[in-house]
């Protein structure tokens, strides 16, 4: 790995492991101290590595330092509590002496348990996702703000209230019972899904980081698949969906980091291993009675890995969108459906459907209208692309739209 990215990379992969293990050890009510120790460990790393060079095994180094910082914390706490509450002495001494367990097994368990602790029904879905992004993914307030398209203040307050609430509820970092797993799993999956999307579609131009986010989402989901109690059809469907999307990661950008449109992508750059893994998990998802939105999205994503413009493909895709919209309607899915519709029923029918959505502040709405009108009503297509241009948030996006206008 290129050295300039080392710390951000380690932060993405190791922060939540340290926080999870320490919070499990300290108790959820002290999660902020666990976060502080984890952040401080990275700061220490930068200072010592800067002066003394990189250690041979940076991850082990981080664990070692985090463990020592945690032990110091417990020791200080114990001294303090012994002074004010001598009767607790025995219990406290014991807790101080026991080590911080950074074994792979405990790291894995702690992370899973942390996922479910955060996705507790006592706090809103938005808070759960926000807190997950903070604790499990090491997101800063800024990045969470971007992910939710809101402002810092809102996110800051939301996280604060969520932490307070979880403290009041005396949440423990442990695996919930089977019924609770079922009900909380949906939020866990939403969080993973959002994390993946942040990496796959975000405005952040840093490719390595974005790929890290996608891989982290897949890693969290894989942990759920590997655990007997959480290996449910929807979990497999989500993992399948992410594999299919991730298979195009290399093909989506050219050498200059510019977006390459799906139609123009070099299929040779698609990752066949990820496509076949996607297929495998989609098969695993087909067991049981449950059908989730991830099933349909994964199936749609499967068809995206099949290039070529066959009627069979588009009929399938249209059908899948219809089913998806029935169980989980979203304007963006409805918009994407119109593209499949145009392949089956023709462009003017698709334009009529798309216009009903009337998403006037969404660049993708105008992009789609532009595409659908292309070669049918180029004047209208140009008008739509120009509106999309004004709404686009990145230079790369504006460049791609400019190109479309020129090609009309």
């Amino acid at each position: 790995m290129a050295q300039p990215e080392l710390i951000p990379h380690l932060f993405r992969t190791e922060y939540r492991k340290i926080v999870s293990v320490l919070s499990k050890r300290f108790g959820f009510d002290q999660v902020e101290i666990a976060e502080d120790i984890a952040s401080d460990t990275f700061l220490t790393a930068a200072q010592i590595w800067g002066l003394n060079g990189l250690p041979p095994n940076p991850v082990a180094w981080l664990y070692h330092v985090a463990r020592n910082k945690a032990k110091n914390h417990l020791q200080r706490k114990s001294v303090f509590e012994n002074k004010i509450a001598p009767e607790l002495k025995q219990g406290i001494t014991e807790s101080f002496e026991s080590d911080i367990d950074m074994s792979p097994q405990n790291i894995n368990d702690s992370q899973l348990q942390m996922m479910f602790a955060i996705c507790h029904p006592s706090i809103s879905s938005e808070s759960q996702i926000g807190l997950s992004l903070r604790i499990l993914c090491g997101f800063g307030i800024e990045e969470i703000t971007d992910a939710f398209l809101t402002n810092r203040e809102t996110i800051y307050k939301r996280l604060l209230r969520a932490r307070e609430k979880l403290r009041e509820e005396k949440i423990r970092i442990e695996m919930p019972d089977a019924a609770a797993i079922e009900s909380r799993l949906e939020n866990v999956l939403t969080t993973i899904y959002l994390l993946f999307n942040e990496g796959y579609y975000s405005l952040n131009q840093n490719q390595t980081l974005r790929k890290d986010l996608c891989l982290e989402a897949m890693r969290l989901c894989t942990m759920l698949v590997e655990n007997k109690t959480t290996n449910k059809p929807a979990v497999n469907a989500l993992l399948s969906l992410m594999c299919f999307h991730a298979s195009r990661f290399e093909a989506r950008l050219d050498d200059n980091g510019e977006q390459v449109l799906y139609e123009d992508q070099d299929e040779n750059l698609w990752n066949p291993e990820l496509i076949s893994r996607g297929g495998y998990f989609l098969n695993c998802a087909a067991s049981g009675e449950q059908v989730s939105k991830y099933h349909f999205e994964a199936a749609i994503a499967y068809w995206s890995t099949q290039k070529g413009d066959t009627m069979e493909k588009w009929e399938n895709v249209l059908h899948l969108y219809d089913q998806l919209l029935q169980i989980s309607w979203s304007p963006i899915a409805a918009l994407h459906r119109t593209f499949a519709l145009s392949k089956i029923k023709g462009k003017s029918a698709a334009v009529a459907e798309a216009e009903k959505l009337n998403l006037v502040d969404n660049q993708f709405y105008y992009l789609m209208l532009g595409e659908l009108n292309k070669d049918m009503d180029n004047g209208k297509a140009k008008e739509s692309f120009e509106k999309a241009f004004l709404l686009a948030k990145t230079d790369a996006g504006r460049k791609a739209i400019q190109l479309k206008i020129e090609k009309l």
């Binding site: 710390i7 700061l43 020791q75």
Partner: protein, 118 residues
């Protein structure tokens, strides 16, 4: 030529830094030492752990660390060769440590090899 020690003193590190920022600091430290080394004026240096830190006081009383809080940042030092304290100060000015408000770099001439002592 004299040797000077540059000691980094950190204020309480109650700072929130993004991983990207942390990465930049590490890189800056490496670059800073690189420029001193390039002049063949770098003697050595070390970061200091806060773990297993003790303070031994009057009558042999031992306390933990130099600190009472969990919010601490690491200190460290480097030793440079230099003809004058002014030159050593110029080196110190380049230290990324100084980007932190309240942080300081103390510059002291080492006694050993100063022409008077061996």
């Amino acid at each position: 030529m004299d040797e000077f020690i540059l000691i980094f003193r950190h204020q309480d590190g109650n700072q929130v830094a993004s991983p990207e920022q942390i990465q930049i600091w590490m890189k800056q430290t490496m670059d800073w030492i690189g420029t001193i080394s390039a002049k063949n004026k770098f003697v050595g240096g070390n970061g200091l752990h806060f773990q297993e830190a003790k303070t031994v006081g009057h009558k042999g009383i031992v306390t933990n660390g130099p600190f009472g809080e969990i919010k601490e940042t690491i200190g460290g030092y480097i030793i440079v060769k230099s003809d004058s304290v002014q030159e050593a100060v110029e080196f110190a000015k380049g230290s990324p440590v100084l980007q932190g408000e309240g942080n300081t770099v103390e510059v002291r001439k080492l006694v050993k090899g100063d022409g008077v002592h061996k």
